[in-house]
């Protein structure tokens, strides 16, 4: 049996959403935001999830151990706007059971 993980997502209007993200669909965080329609279509995941745009940038608020940034993501974030030390690209974070309780906030649209 696969379990859902609870993720708290603060959208671009500052509204908090508690969602249950399935762990058996090979989803990434950007796709979870789209699944629950927490950002308008066309404003998130523009490149489809290739770390080639920064439309899914988010700030990680909880202290979960996430997978290390790969070169692509690092390079993209170095060109993005509104980047903070906690910035990650949602499309590069795969949903797995260890993310239970994750808290994130969507970065503003640029």
């Amino acid at each position: 049996m696969t379990l859902d993980v609870h993720i708290q997502i603060t959208d671009r209007d500052g509204i908090r959403h508690d969602v249950q993200a399935p762990t058996d669909m090979a989803l990434n965080l950007m796709e979870v935001v789209r699944l629950f329609e927490l950002a308008p279509e066309g404003t998130i995941g523009v490149c489809g999830g290739m770390a080639m745009c920064a439309s899914c940038q988010c700030y990680i608020h909880s202290d979960h151990q996430l997978t290390e940034k790969l070169e692509d993501e690092d390079a993209m974030l170095s060109e993005a706007f509104n980047v903070k030390p906690t910035s990650r690209l949602g499309c590069q974070i795969q949903i797995n059971p260890e993310l239970e309780g994750l808290q994130i906030e969507l970065a503003p649209e640029d």
Partner: protein, 351 residues
Amino acid sequence: MITTDILIIGAGPTGLFTVFEAGLLKLKCHLIDALPQPGGQCSEIYPKKPIYDIPAYPEILAGDLTDKLLEQSKQFEPGFTLGERAETIEKQSDGSFVVTTNKGTQHKATVVAIAGGLGSFEPRKPAIEHLQSFEDKGVAYIIKDPEVYRNKKVVIAGGGDSALDWAIFLSDVASEVSLIHRRNEFRGALDSVDKVQELKDKGLIKLITPAEVTAVFGETKLESIEVVKLGESAVRIQTDAFIPLFGLSPKLGPIADWGLEIEKNAIKVNNALDYQTNIPGVFAIGDVNTYPGKLKLILCGFHEATLMCQAAYKIINPGKRYVLKYTTVSGIDGFDGSRKEAPKAVVKSIE
């Protein structure tokens, strides 16, 4: 005034395939795209990435798909207005439409097919105070004519291919080129990175990393910028031009004001029939449209384009009947006089 049968807005895969399907129906097409080259996202964002769900291609690079679509549509001689964004649409008394671009180019067509994907690609502008007031007065986000930088001092910001390529190109044109990037690492083609290294060593490009431009100054035009290098205090650099190259992001843009029904940043269409919008004669196909069950896939765009062309045929040839013809049976007659057809079977008796 450019006149055509079907005016296609957006030269991505869906728009390019429309040219072919329209050509089979003897309809002529013209395409407008804000980008300087055809292919849309496939050529702008991910030309070197593979796509695995194009029927009959187990794997094809997005750039190669664009090339193949151009080759397939070539015989139907499409016209292109590239590097211009469709701005306004006006219905004429004869039922046709006139679409005007941001540069004033006018196009007249009986049918308009919006194949605009996620919208037109607009440069991403860094959040620097007063930056916008220096636009066209020293600040530019796209380099249209490199000659305007001849013997000028130029500062480029960015860490991708376009920043590298333009720094290399302008090092030969401008009197001084500085390249500013937030990190020491650049993400671009390896030979571009090597070339910048070589030009830096020769003193032809001034590399300032890791650093950021934090302010712009000038009276009537740009005169200097403020640069903060990581861990150091801000310095002012005199410059004639500042060119931030931080990539492009798609925006639906002026199309959103054409009176079309918009839902979720996409144009609502009648998917039961022909992908027509709420404005008769204006269609929306590919990623730009929405309807129940919509999937933003290239292959769905191809299907939508094909059905749309049938409806366009009826509008352009009122009252005329149409019978579907198979290309294998009928061959293809290009507008350029070319003809493609299946070889005739040889009939030979067996003794």
